[in-house]
Amino acid sequence: MMPTDSVFVAALPILAKQIENARQQSEDAILALSTRFRGLVTRLDGAMAASEKGSGDGGRDLGNAMADGRTQLLTVIDALMAIRDSRAALITEIRSLNAFTAELADMGKEVEMIAFKTNMLALNAAIEAAHASGDVGRGFAVVANEVRQLSVASRTTGKCIVAKIEVITTALNSIVGANEQAVLKEAAAVKASETRIGNVLASFGGMTEKLLASAQEFRGEGEEIKNEVMESMVQLQFQDRVGQILSHVVERIADLGARGAASGGEAADERDGAADQYLADMAESYTTEEQRRIHLGGPAAEVAPQAAEFF
């Protein structure tokens, strides 16, 4: 059975309201979405600007710090090398001292030799004195004895000199030995330090480059995401057109309803049966609360967004 005019008259305004409601809701939602997208774009811009500034300045700062560190560490190595050089100079000095001590040792031996000869002389003098008779011999013996005492004293001194020089020579040699060991160790340490400093600087350099590269990558990705979001915003402009179209449809439907009501005034009595039946069927087929509310002529607003139910 075809619906009668009364059915149209009754249903059309409701349908118009339903469409208007849907239009209004989607417009609101899309507006909110656009706002959010705009917010996203703004924040992305901010983040990228910060990253740009951070990695740009930071990269430069890091580079400067690395160069500074390299300079300072090289200064340390230079200082170490200076110490090593001065040690080498010290060794040379001590070696030259060694030559003197050798000479002194020879002199000490010479003193001993002179003492030995003096002793011989004194002994011979004593023998001569013994052979000489009387006072002459006695006086001579006294002199001979004095000379002998001198020779003993000088021999003791000579021995002392030689012994002391031996001590000095031993000490100097051990100093030279220790110093040479120290020089070798220092050279090794300087070399090791250079290598380590080089390694540390290289690994810092590598890390910096990676950091800069990843920041760059992040900015690139961010740019793309921003572009995507902006394109999405452009596409969201469909809402404007759809809204206009729907507004027009709602207008037309309302007009249709008004015309139907004007022309079918006399058939109002027929409305009761078929129209009521149709409206009841319509109400039956609604799936949401707001549809029913609009159907009954209530406001569509205050629709709490239902928690998403996924089937």
Binding site: M113, F116, M120, L123, A130, R148
Partner: protein
């Protein structure tokens, strides 16, 4: 009084000279020889070799024109000769025997000093326990609480004795 004093002093001086000895080393032992037997001490220089001499004669040296044989006392005492060092000396000794006087050079390892050993500090040579023939020893002198062997050079350097030894060596 003064003359008497002089004479006494002179006599004391005579005795004083008699009691003076030269000490020297031979190996690790200290020997002493009366100073009046000694003419002088020479620094060592190698003596001129003379063939057909017994081993204890090291050769001859020229002492102001006189030929003086050099005796190695160690070898004479029946020991191995010591190597010469810069301390080795030749002591020129004059022996006095009934046959006449004879001058020898004696090779010693080192000369020590001229010192006085009073007659009371000299003991008789022991009958045993010495490393040297007892007839070469005049006595044992006490010096600073140690004993030195006082040699009888006339016996030790007896020409007869040495000649006998030499001919024995040659006969061998």
């Amino acid at each position: 009084m003064a003359v008497e004093s002089m004479q006494r002093t002179s006599a004391a001086a005579e005795r004083h000279d008699q009691n003076q000895y030269l000490t020297f080393m031979l190996g690790r032992e200290t020997f002493a020889v009366g100073i009046l037997s000694i003419k002088e001490i020479l620094e060592y220089e190698a003596p001129t070799d003379v063939p057909m001499m017994p081993p204890f004669v090291r050769g001859i040296v020229n002492l102001r024109g006189a030929v003086v044989p050099v005796i190695d006392l160690s070898v004479r005492f029946g020991r191995a000769g010591n190597p010469t060092t810069k301390k080795t000396c030749i002591v020129i000794v004059e022996t006095c025997t009934p046959e006449g006087s004879q001058v020898f050079g004696v090779l010693v390892d080192a000369v020590n000093e001229v010192l006085e050993i009073a007659g009371t500090d000299i003991e008789a040579p022991p009958n045993f326990g010495t490393t040297v023939r007892t007839d070469f020893i005049k006595g044992m002198g006490k010096v600073r609480d140690r004993f030195v062997i006082i040699l009888d050079v006339d016996a030790a350097l007896s020409v007869e004795d040495m000649a006998a030894l030499t001919s024995a060596t040659i006969l061998q």
